[in-house]
Symmetry: C2
């Protein structure tokens, strides 16, 4: 069973990482707490419409684009017709975003080839 908050969290996290930005930067720009943004990205918290707008504004990304990606990901899950909750959800990228790498080698190890 695929839930909106999980696909939405994935899209937001992917956008942020694509921009090379940290949770700290984006949460400060959106004026939401770092913990809140982190929970939203992990699909653990429902983002209110107002805070979602603030986060997308901080990411410089129109809501139409965010929800087009959400729609595409729902379509993919529907096509597969199987639970996607158990799928690995970019653990390497997740690690990269949440931990402070200690050495350049750590970073390299975390990035999927």
């Amino acid at each position: 069973m695929v839930l909106l908050r999980q696909l939405l969290g994935d899209v937001l996290r992917r956008l942020r990482i694509r921009q090379g930005r940290t949770l700290r930067e984006v949460s400060a720009s959106a004026r939401v707490s770092l913990g809140y943004l982190s929970e939203v990205e992990r699909g653990q918290k429902e983002a209110s419409s107002e805070l979602l707008l603030a986060i997308c504004t901080a990411l410089g990304t129109p809501l139409s684009q965010v929800f087009r990606e959400v729609s595409d990901n729902f379509a993919l899950a529907e096509l597969q017709n199987e639970p996607v909750l158990e799928m690995p959800r970019e653990p390497a990228l997740r690690e990269l975003a949440e931990t402070t790498p200690r050495t350049p080698q750590d970073l390299t190890d975390m990035v999927p080839v």
Copy 2:
């Protein structure tokens, strides 16, 4: 400023009305309260991901389609680049859905030409 819960509510309401179904039918099928569904449709309440899934299942509509429409509506609002909150949001259809018409003439009066 356009908010997700408002565009989402519009899409859900439009889907239900297109199917000729009442709030009562869909809320019973989705196992949510009629008041909750009505508030979600009016953009007054954020639907949780679980209840949104239940509502879309009751409407027999994949979430990918719902969010494609949400995305399209966001894109339209972004193109117009002006507040859409003040735009009339299908008041005739809203009336039609929420009130019990008294005479056929009432119905005719409510439907836009």
